[in-house]
């Protein structure tokens, strides 16, 4: 087990290295010049060049890469070219809104989606099943920003139950946090619920056809216990997997949702940085999100051993 963990962690190294090189090269090939952003509309070419010089952008690529990696290994993601503040600082300030929203979304999604999927599989081909499937297909079919606008229109503009936008950290006010987080979370959750409910249903359908379910029924075990004690745990591995890989989807949704609901999270930070060619921030963010993705999937892999005793590494 320990050996497995070590091996898995070591396997992260080449993956993250490839990500780092890839991201670095990708960005440096992108047209766009942060110096032009800093200088504004009236700058002359000579001024631009002087600014580029002072930012180190005129150095050869490999020098820039070595500098960057060198700093990276010391935990320093560099300094934002545009705002002249430390990338680590920017990220650590803005990661919490995203993390909080994402966590709440995952919790809401799992609480909604898993029972939906279980019941749909249990009542295979009933109206409940069709209902759940329709919802989950629908959840995949509407762009997330449209869902967000519809929620705002209904709950904020028409009913006036919830604020339109913004973010308050839960440490400041739980109520304030929830009031502002509910709509973004529900918006994000639609696609996530769709995804998890689908997978739960499919996985449960398969498990419900297994012999041990028949055994449980032959023991006279009640249906709810059959579903949740016997079937769900066996169906859990693919569900966990989809929660993990769905994380990438969540990031995509977060980027959009943060714009719609004006949440100062890392999704917006990244998009802004890409549009402004703020290389250190983009690199840091992509590296970070990739790292989190890899980490989450590592944790999920490890969690399999708790779900399923047959899985030993």
């Amino acid at each position: 087990m320990l050996g497995y963990i070590i091996r898995r962690i070591l396997a992260v190294i080449p993956v993250m290295t490839i990500v780092a090189v890839f991201v670095f090269l990708l960005l440096r090939l992108t047209p766009g010049d942060p110096a032009a952003i800093i200088a504004g509309d009236m700058a002359t070419p000579a001024q631009l060049d002087r600014i580029r010089d002072s930012l180190g952008l005129n150095d050869p690529l490999y020098v820039q890469f070595i500098t960057w990696v060198g700093n990276l290994l010391q935990g320093d993601l560099g300094t934002s070219i545009i705002s002249n503040t430390s990338v680590t600082g920017m990220i650590s300030e803005r990661i919490w809104p995203t993390v909080n929203i994402a966590l709440l979304t995952i919790i809401i999604s799992v609480l909604l989606a898993v029972p939906m999927g279980v019941v749909a599989a249990w009542r295979h081909k009933s109206w409940i099943d069709y209902g759940v499937m329709s919802f989950s297909v629908l959840g995949f079919s509407i762009p997330v920003f449209v869902i967000g606008y519809i929620f705002i229109q209904i709950f904020s503009n028409e009913l006036r139950w919830l604020p339109v936008q913004g973010y308050i950290p839960p440490s400041e006010s739980i109520g304030g946090f929830l009031a502002r987080a509910i709509l973004p979370c529900l918006t994000l959750a639609t696609i996530y619920v769709a995804l998890i409910a689908r997978m739960t249903r499919a996985s449960m359908l398969e498990v419900l056809g297994e012999d041990y379910i028949r055994t449980a029924r032959a023991k006279g075990v009640k249906e709810d216990i059959v579903l949740f004690r016997h079937a769900l745990r066996n169906a859990a591995v693919p569900i966990m997997t989809i929660i993990g890989t769905g994380f990438a989807l969540l990031i995509g949704g977060v980027v959009v949702t943060e714009s719609v609901f004006n949440i100062p999270g890392i999704g917006r930070l990244t998009v802004d940085a890409i549009l402004a060619r703020d290389y250190p921030v983009i690199q840091g963010m992509i590296l970070l999100t990739s790292g989190i993705y890899v980490l989450i999937n590592l944790l999920i892999d490890l969690s399999y051993t708790f779900i399923d005793p047959r899985i030993r590494y």
Binding site: P31, L159, L275
Partner: protein, 544 residues
Amino acid sequence: MMKQRACSHPASRALRTRSGVAGLLAATFLASASLIHPATAQDGETTITAVMHSGLRVLDPIITTAHITRNHGYMIYDVLVATDENFEPQPQMADWTISDDNLVYTFTLRDGLTFHDGEPVTAADAVASLNRWGERDSGGQLIFDVTESLEATDDKTIVWTLEKPFPALLDTIGKQSAIPPFIMPERVASGSADEAITDYTGSGPFVFVEEEYEPGVSVTYEKFEDYVPRDEEPSWMAGGKDVKVDRVEWVTMPDAQTTINALISGEIDYIEQVQVDLLPLLETSQDVVVETRDDLGYQTIGRMNFLYPPFDDVKIRQAAMMALSQEDVLGTLIGNPEYYTTCGAIFGCGTPLADETGSETLTSGGDVEGAKQLLEEAGYDNTPVVLMQPTDVVSLTAQPVVAAQALREAGFNVDMQAMDWQTLVTRRASQAEPSEGGWNLFFTNWMVPEINSPLISPMLNGRGDEAWFGWPTDEKIEELRAEFIAADTPEKQKEVAAKIQAHNMENVNYIPLGQYIMPQARRDNITGMIPSPVPVFWNVEKSE
């Protein structure tokens, strides 16, 4: 002066009292409902939450010409001289005297000026700041070109000695665009003009709260208690900067509609720029005021690349201009005619130098037939026009689309290339062939005060490679500019300006595409906003 249109449709409040299920559900959101208005202050402090036109990311107002950074500069810095609403320079930090030969300017700092760290503002600080500014600002460079010396003779006195007269000196250091000479402590201002500052100590009416600053998201200012405002009434950038609130928070909202909803629901107090198309949304709200703060507004322009065909040929440049219609551009860009006006003056309508010579086709719907004919005369060989279109800046998306259509109608072969603004600003600096990463035509917007004089308008520089993007080599305009600098009376200046206007329309240094204003919106408990091209927060009050 201020156009005010308090929107009052007494319909909307009924929403509060929906009965039945809705009411019941509403109760479940009880906890949240009471928390909807965070902007209402804690402990009697008044805070204005304002949504600005863009996020603040660069904090050095000298290194960039970005408007949001300039606005930030006006919050925390002060200037020696400021322009009032009559375009007259007025004393702000300093009074001045001018020698009879117009070569020596002596500035005397007024009493009570303090930096936010408690140190007094000295003449040495001002000299260092002016020097750094002079390296970046094009107007400033012109002055320093003729400067013999700039010295602090004592703590309060600055002596600026010129080699030859520069009649517009006070106008130039008093201008609010693009780079005003903000006064910083000497230790900050003595740094390189190419590296952004990291010490944000100013002497302006607000203090920058560094620990609450989130680049691109929010920035907080607190009232500077030790600031001593002038006694005069505020007028544009001049007069007394009397701060009447405790805090101002600028927040950025990426979504225009969300911003408006937030203003209606009272989550924010102020929107600097409202897209004209969205104004109807605000009409239903009684407690929101929509108004115009800056009557001059913006000039939208097109600029061609003089280095490559087809626009290296003056006839073809003229043909292109002839094909365009300001009405079409502005109508598409702004829509509501209340907020735009066709204007053929390159120095902007409503400014002292305004003159509309040579702009007939532009302001009367364009002349496609004439353009066709000119093209034929010029022997246009169907060289494609690479037209750069930014996709992510709302105020710049319409011009290229409208222009492309008009140019195609006139017989141009238009290759419109979409890109984000960043790519555009990088690419417009490229002098490569249009087919190899260069360009032929792009559009941008200027605030009118940024182009209202030949001294500062970047498009009127005719020094080839040293000129602004497009790089015209135009000796005639350089002569005219020199003539303008030498002109010592407003009448003479107007005369030269008219010549420049005529020359521009002949040579098509750039195409003025008309003027538009951006309305602002505020909650009605925000009062005392003075008219100004810069959204300033002094004199503003917030009542409960």
